[in-house]
Symmetry: C2
Subunit: 716 residues, 2 copies
Amino acid sequence: MISVPFKVLLALTVVCSLINPASAQQRQVTEVAPGVKKISIGQADKFSPYSFCDEKPQLAAMQQLPAAKLPFDINNIAVAITDRGVVVEVPLDGDEQLYGFGLQIGSFNQRGLRKKPIVNDNPSNDLGYTHGPTTFYVSNKGYGILVNTSRYTTFYCGSTSRNNGAVAAVKQTNGGNSVEDLYANRSGASGVVSADVPGAKGIEIYVFEGPDMLSAMQRYNLFSGGGALPAIWGLGVKYRVKADFKQDEVKKTAAYFRNNHIPVDVLGLEPRWQTTAYSCSYVWNKDFFPNPQNLIDSMKLQGYHINLWEHAFVNPASPLYEPLKNKSGNYLVWNGLVPDFANAATSKLFAGYHENTFIKQGISGFKMDECDNSNLSYGSATWSFPEHSRFPSGIDGEQMHQLFGLLYQKSIYNVYKQNNIRTYLDVRASSSFASSYPAALYSDTYEHDEYIRMVVNSGFSGMIWSPEVRESNTVKDLMRRSQTAVLSAQTLYNSWYLQNPPWLQINKEKNNHDELMADSKQIEADVRQLLNFRMSLLPYLYNAFAEYHFKGIPPFRALVMDYPNDEKVFGIWDEYMIGQGILAAPLTEKADQRKIYLPAGNWYDFNTGKKMEGGKEYTIQPTYTQLPIFIKEGTILPLAKPLEYVAPNSQFDITCYVYGDNAKGTLFEDDGITFNYEKGKYNSIGLSYENGKGKLNRKGSFGNKRYAIKKWEVVK
Amino acid sequence: MISVPFKVLLALTVVCSLINPASAQQRQVTEVAPGVKKISIGQADKFSPYSFCDEKPQLAAMQQLPAAKLPFDINNIAVAITDRGVVVEVPLDGDEQLYGFGLQIGSFNQRGLRKKPIVNDNPSNDLGYTHGPTTFYVSNKGYGILVNTSRYTTFYCGSTSRNNGAVAAVKQTNGGNSVEDLYANRSGASGVVSADVPGAKGIEIYVFEGPDMLSAMQRYNLFSGGGALPAIWGLGVKYRVKADFKQDEVKKTAAYFRNNHIPVDVLGLEPRWQTTAYSCSYVWNKDFFPNPQNLIDSMKLQGYHINLWEHAFVNPASPLYEPLKNKSGNYLVWNGLVPDFANAATSKLFAGYHENTFIKQGISGFKMDECDNSNLSYGSATWSFPEHSRFPSGIDGEQMHQLFGLLYQKSIYNVYKQNNIRTYLDVRASSSFASSYPAALYSDTYEHDEYIRMVVNSGFSGMIWSPEVRESNTVKDLMRRSQTAVLSAQTLYNSWYLQNPPWLQINKEKNNHDELMADSKQIEADVRQLLNFRMSLLPYLYNAFAEYHFKGIPPFRALVMDYPNDEKVFGIWDEYMIGQGILAAPLTEKADQRKIYLPAGNWYDFNTGKKMEGGKEYTIQPTYTQLPIFIKEGTILPLAKPLEYVAPNSQFDITCYVYGDNAKGTLFEDDGITFNYEKGKYNSIGLSYENGKGKLNRKGSFGNKRYAIKKWEVVK
């Protein structure tokens, strides 16, 4: 938690203008970082998301942002504390657009909706349930609001109107002839966003000022410690092998990739590497893996990193059980303890075991499963600890649910960091102020549209989303999903129930009977081409993550974040920016073509080099091996000769593609695997192209030149 | 509320055995009616469901039930009051089966599940959301538990296990190869049902004792005032006309039914009868209905009752607006006031207008729409008042949501009752202790399977469910849905967006263009046949409702309620009992045949008369005009010559079908339209068949013999 308030701006007794408060309360407004103000009123929760944020705000970077500005007086944010809890009301303009509430799966523009961002494993109804809830939203008017609570909170995003005498401008009707007519959203007339926080006795509200939407988002990420910078190999390809693979089968799969020149950096082991998985023992299953150290070492020689699946529910057979028995919640999950991660010593104990056992062995990361919750899961299953659970720290089950994934990834991340080893984790739940953790969220859901929407929404949440590829209905489905995976923060094939890679056989049953598709070699070649593109894009992507870390710019973000005043992008949930210059517009198996909208300026079709005018719609029809991306005029896109994996000393031979007459780009250069960049051991490489000539300007103290610009190619 | 406790059984300081309570609290156990005990602890909620139950418990009837028995010591129900709220824990046997939580749409046997019974208009995710939530469940071990709260409550039905040192008998696994394997419900090891009531400072728990499941359910219904007894005409057919029909079109439709001898008792008018409907003016729209009194009167002459659609959100243009302005919540819905129904005088004011305006005109009932809530509705619409709303009575929005439909139907029902007029209402939300209200729930959802499941679940909730027929995918769909409608508590065709009855054209667009199906006359004849059966069944059904009223026996109920020890019925959600002797097993359009299970005893196929041995499965394949029903041996099924509508003095010519050598039956005879039966003005008719001879035994003081037994027919 940030300890030194910048200055106390206001300390006054507020008569709330919008809410009749049960009692007028003393409230304080503090500037806690440049452009970040905190309103405190009443007795704030002990277990708030920010209370667990150990990362320091990146103050210097925040000072570089344009002068902070809020479109309304901060004192017009009203707070009422009643017997029921706390209600917050934030002013809202008639034409304002709202985004956020974490990794929302079913909705994008939240204006007019009611959202309850609650952590859940299968948020198939659009109530606001998500793997990664935040009580945070941003407005296209250039600010963000975070209600700092882990309690289940409901946001009414301009969907209410008040009985205060004034007749609201709601269309009156005597009903239509369809259900859709009847329930057409006649609300949105309200000039307010309300947040209902039952059970709270006070509240802290963080206000992230603009002046624009991207700046507000940058402030949020920088205040959270800066965006995550994964290990460079993490931006390659991750492949999770079948759950019942034994050591030799893992090696066989690894050999297949290398023999067929299919880029893969990380191999993931699924539940059965452990003696018991539901709940977890955290002990190697010697029947399946007789010599784990040998596996890890031999895989390392072939350039692989190993990632281990687990969850945090501790089996009685685990060496962690006895030490954690009295440091856990009063309910079990799958007969396993629920460690009290809200207690720092307990987190450390749990993570310390991982450090001494697995990180020492050379395990490069973990897939932290099941840390969300299940209100409804597959079939009739319900699991996880009840909301009324109690933990030794004093936190209850409800708040623990909202924070569990956050605290889990934090504790595992911290031991890597203490060892000066970078990682790229998988995690199934997260929360607010998580920007600094290099952990990609994933889901058992599998709607391709929803996966794309989550890539786009991830930019509003300080989270990383991994639209993994599993089985497919059709080859088209496989190829389009692979394209989306390549155009996302983590390219992951999750074959935990597939004997062979899905590109050899899309059908699960046939795949597991080793019946490969007739044209499997062609499909393999097509996938290889896509994955090679991923490896080419890696330096550009790595730079985008560096800008996430140092400047707070989300590497994947909605068009509205860059074009907050273009009303044509207010609802676009299926196109997004990657880094500064790439616009992606993924296709699904539903159609062979799609409409795209390009915002103001000029753009270039990456596949054809064709120049396209912005502010217009186009129809595109890319093949399976053509990625649906468009490059902004003025961009230098550095593409590398694809590697099969990134080794500690890998060099990248780069061709700079120049879009337009004058163009710029940057690259971030460091060892990619330690935190030495935090001590300044990195280079910033400026790329520019002017008057027909490309220039490279390398600044910094990192000695090893990993990037070699081999060629400049002008596209126009 | 019942005022005189029977006796205080216990008043002791309890050390809760299952929960470590924050503080030991004084608790009282009172027997409030025969076999109904109330546990009180801490400061109980003011706005609990029972606090609004004005109906008196049917004490005499309760005393007729078998001696009350609970399978565990009531003191083993543990309660903890903490900062978070209240947690209740009720003992649970290893093999116990649980049902209830109101009109659940997606689940039936609730054992092992987590359920949050929250009022909602579109509960498509199986979290427990429903139009008719109750905090009540029944066990096949013969008791029911009601947590008397209107707060959003979560029940963990044996889905948790405790970290208390004992290792629970949960299967340990190292994971399967499918998502289903992984999430297989490994829980259920817990010997407890927990209810989590956040925000409560104390609680009342009603325990409905057995000795068996049906007795417990009877006690619940009788304690709630006895089950509803609708006006006899309500058990005929209701037809809702297109929303934009004008007076003449309504008359035309009415004439069509009579000309074609299609039985219809009630015509429902949809939104546009009002000057403004979203929100409501409660004023006739003279453009559409220039002379409402003429319509009502002329329809009455043809035997029709008129039902008016409305909701409770009061438009500024309504005469009710000014009187209610300061008696409503602090938020509007569709710019309309939300009357504070928790205040008796406000309810009376609202209902009084209905009495003076509409009931006086001869309106026979209302469809009380939109009184649920919308967390997610069609598309992006969200509406209704927020959960943090405040009302003059002091109730908050959350509790008001849970109670709104209950209080709405109660206030409308009460004015009918005060006028000694019986009715049959439609309502879109209900709650606990609603058994006595003759109001059928309905939904905008339209899954036939779910509709059947709600018929079955209605028996655990003290509610009436109306699986209405709208458009259809296929003629098969129409016919199967019609069958289910005929075999339910209300037979309703809701053509609010259809120009013609759906049996003339299933397709919405064609229907509205008057393009009738080529075989529409044949389909019409088939539907007529089904509706005629409904009219034949009416005396039997009416008697089932009388048994609901006087004995608390749900007229529609799951097999498990009658056969609580037959494990083969524990999961059967698609077969149900109607009255004492009919088992229904509806089909949907999914298949032309289905499996049925018949419990112990002998049964007769209604269509063929074939005797079938119980305890076995059969496959049935009824045609569109054959109803999938089976008659229990020993039943006398009185079927009437079908009427086209039930007039005040209608006589029923009855044939008694006798199933088996010795058989019994009953009929309930009264005027069918007043509450005079409450003063004893009714006859109980005993039917018996022994030694080849049928006997009728009429007892009571109702003078008019409505039922004439014309014939006895033995089926064997």
